[in-house]
Amino acid sequence: MRLNIPEQDYMYSGHVGCPGCGAAIAMKFFLKAMGEKTIIVLPACCWSIIAGPYPQSTLQVPLIHSAFEAGGAVASGVRAALDAKGDRETVVVTWAGDGGTFDIGFQALSGAVERNEDFIYVCYDNEAYMNTGIQRSSATPYGAWTTTTPGAQWKRARKKNIVEALAAHRIPYAATASIAFPEDLVRKVKKARETQGSRFLHIYTTCPTGWRMPSETSIKVARMAVETAIFPLYEVTDGVHYTINYTPRGFPVSEYLKLQGRFRHLTDDDLEHIQEMVNEDWQLLLRKAGEGA
């Protein structure tokens, strides 16, 4: 029994998420923390399908599907309408994948955040366009195989740092979270819920299907991403105040990469290079949090 995690669920079984789907786990925790006064805007992503085919709905809160690039804008409109109706209690949430956030949806997200629209934007990140067949996005990490970065053309561009991009907007609240750290995730969702203005949550969600790993390691891989500092858990308030929430145990990146088939092709030199990049990013984060040398 976890005292910090609410018991009430707002999601049904019977959805078509893959076995071990990290995105399903993320939504489950998110809704537990949010409660029923929530409206979800859902641009195209895996959850567009997991949300259920007509006439079924996986969620017990209102949901509007939106065009791929429009998540931030549709939410702005819903919020304006609720304000016009005098409803200040319901919280508007955009629930988008990495594609609809980092790439095609970035404009609408940036626009909404620049206007400091009063909503929560959640990006659940499985690091590729999974719904359409595992194609690369700008959230795909350096080194990964995808169907559009196959073989020798594995992705050599670094993963875009979306939280940093939004911190530059002076967003009131932005945070990373992981499905392997549910209490931290729930705390951040609750905090976001109580904050006014634009809030952004970047949730790391494993994809056993797209990352070529056994479904039962879904949480383990998510944990390892945090413990290797590849996906650090931290918060940024007003774009300037950084708080690191968890000190990784500092396992080498190879401990994380070796669990996933999408990194199988990497040589020792590649691993070393990745380790350097992760170390560099971690040092940078420490400095921002006022903790680094």
Binding site: D9, G14, P19, G20, A24, S57, I179, P182
Partner: protein, 587 residues
């Protein structure tokens, strides 16, 4: 062309969904099925009494101290005793030891017994219906008392016959007070009597008395222990200044010795030797232990050795006695140095004399503590015969004169209180099975109660309790998901300061608070048991783990479980298994 009428609104068929997805039974996707399956923790398997230690610590964590204490009593009538004097093989087997440090199970057992005593808990024990048969138990040491206890739980009348004036055996007359205070023992014996066991003290029995009893009772449980000290086999050992260590300890317990000044030497390396040496210190003397092997080979508990040395006992290793002579009002022990030359069959160092040079040690008195033998021949079972059934901790013999079960130190390879309890338990189970189902049923019935690979048997399983549903697989450390645990130091047992210890026979170990006890119990992995941590429930992507009011507080909804296996991997304590889904032809 559709016409809009005043009454009918315009056609509006849009994708608006509000039916639940629960109509979609995704359980059909599964090819692996997770099941809750509690398994055996290594601690319980290592405990000769098969205490359900993982469960005990779980209950302690929840503050359910009475329940935890009763869980001990199900398998062992002596939590207060064992929490003080047991050699805790459980801690050596503890999986937490591979993570940081083993759980201080021993300390927690003592804490629970103390708490029960302080709260005057009345245990609610499961007992079977009264049976007609009655069993005589010879010897009120830990084995005999345990046998009586378990026989009473099984519904039998048990009468115990004890030669000494008080019951307890080595617990009363051997182990010093600073290790085991008398009120603790008396209370635990009283609890056994409250089950209806009758203990007659001051009854020394001859072989003929025993045969008479064999006719009167349906069975006899012989647990007389070892009363005769082993000999050194060196000249001079029969002189007056040389005393057998156990008889010395008995005198101390009886109160007939209150001072022991001067220099004493103790030959031997077991707990008895240490007990003697530390008692001498407290009685005002100096003590030296002379041992033929090294410190690490000594069978005495490491903590005891350390405390003895701390209290000023001198340890002379690798010395074997050659002869003992009187000298200047005292004794001179001639000892020969030994050297290690290989390993014995039991894993201890094999020693040989080193050179011809000997040393003479001058002392005022000498104690021997090199082992024990049975006091009388009839204490022990016959070597061979048709009617003999050798079990792990006792021997059942059907003779023409009656039905005999021999247990305790008489039959146990390892001579300890925990093994004595195991012996009493096994004997009671063997008798109950024999009476109900015949001799052929004894081995299989007992085998079904085994916990782990060695001879530990569980009375809870024997009586049909939920523990019988656990898998016999003993959980190993690599089956524990250690990601859910933080390093935390092991509880340190608070003790009297050395200066305080050496002046008194007060108990050396001090009490711990409930706060500290719970904190230590929380370190326990609860290997193989479900402690309702909710990981499975939290991480299931399909919300297929449903809470309920059953014993585990949850079940898997197989209508929706896709068999992803996350629950099994994220269970910190391996309380789930994944098995292949069985499909019918044509599925």
């Amino acid at each position: 062309m559709a016409k809009k009428t005043d009454t009918a609104p315009v056609s509006l068929f849009i994708p608006r969904s509000y039916l639940t997805t629960e109509g979609n039974k995704t359980g059909s996707w599964r090819f692996l099925r997770p099941c809750y399956e509690e398994k055996t923790a290594p601690c319980g398997a290592a405990c000769p009494a098969a205490e359900d230690i993982g469960k005990i610590e779980m209950l302690a964590t929840q503050g359910l101290f009475k329940d935890a204490w009763e869980t001990i009593l199900r398998e062992n009538p002596f939590p207060g005793v064992c929490g003080r004097v047991c050699f805790h093989p459980c801690e050596d087997a503890c999986n937490r030891g591979s993570f940081d440090e083993a759980i201080a199970i021993h300390v927690l057992e003592r804490f629970l017994a103390n708490t029960a005593r302080r709260g005057a808990f009345k245990p609610e024990m499961e007992r079977l219906a009264r049976k007609e048969k009655k069993i005589a138990v010879i010897g009120a040491g830990p084995a005999g008392l345990s046998a009586a206890y378990f026989l009473a739980l099984l519904g039998y009348r048990a009468d115990v016959f004890e030669a000494a004036d008080e019951a307890g055996g080595v617990l009363r007359w051997g182990i010093p007070l600073y290790r085991l205070p008398l009120p603790i023992l008396q209370e635990e014996i009283r609890r056994i009597e409250e089950l209806g066991v009758r203990i007659q003290t001051g009854r020394t029995l001859s072989e003929r008395d025993v045969h008479a009893l064999a006719g009167e009772y349906d069975a006899l449980f012989i647990a007389c222990g070892h009363g005769r000290p082993a000999e050194l086999g060196v000249p001079g050992e029969k002189s007056e200044e040389v005393q057998d260590g156990l008889s010395f300890l008995r005198q101390v317990r009886e109160g007939t010795v209150s001072v022991c000044s001067g220099r004493a030497a103790v030959i031997g390396g077991g707990n008895a030797a240490i007990d003697v040496a530390r008692s001498v210190i407290r009685l005002g003397g100096e003590a030296m232990i002379i041992y033929r092997r090294r410190r690490r080979d000594m069978p005495a508990f490491g903590e005891e050795i350390a405390m003895a040395l701390d209290e000023g006992v001198e340890l002379r290793e690798l010395l074997a006695p050659v002869s003992i002579k009187s000298s200047d009002g005292g004794l001179a022990v001639e000892v020969r140095p030994m050297k290690v030359a290989g390993t014995d069959a039991d894993g201890r160092a094999h020693v040989e004399p080193e050179g011809k040079q000997t040393e003479e040690i001058r002392i005022d008195r000498l104690f021997t503590a090199v082992g024990e033998r049975a006091g009388e021949a009839w204490y022990e079972p016959t070597e061979t015969g048709d009617g003999i059934l050798r079990l792990s901790h006792c021997v059942m013999e059907r003779k023409t004169g009656g039905l005999f079960v021999y247990g305790g130190d008489l039959t146990n390879a390892t001579k300890s209180v925990a093994h004595a309890v195991a012996s009493g338990k096994e004997g009671s189970m063997a008798l109950d099975t024999l009476f109900a189902e015949g001799i052929e049923a004894v081995r299989p019935r007992l085998a079904a109660c085994r916990v782990g690979q060695d001879g530990s048997l569980s009375m809870e399983i024997y009586m049909g309790g939920p523990r019988r549903n656990r898998s016999p697989h003993v959980v190993t450390y690599d089956e524990i998901n250690a990601a859910y645990f933080q390093f935390a130091p092991r509880l340190r047992q608070p003790r009297l300061l050395r200066e305080e210890r050496v002046r008194t026979f007060e108990e050396v170990n001090l009490r711990i608070s409930a706060n500290l006890a719970i904190r230590e119990a929380e370190r326990c992995f609860n290997c193989g048991l479900c402690n309702q941590c909710d990981n499975c429930y939290l991480f299931c992507p399909d919300l297929a783990v449903k809470k309920d009011s059953g014993p585990l507080g949850r079940h898997i909804d197989y209508d929706y479980c896709k068999g992803c296996g996350v629950c099994a991997v994220e269970c910190p304590r391996n309380a789930l298994i994944l098995e292949e889904e069985a499909y019918e032809e044509g599925d």
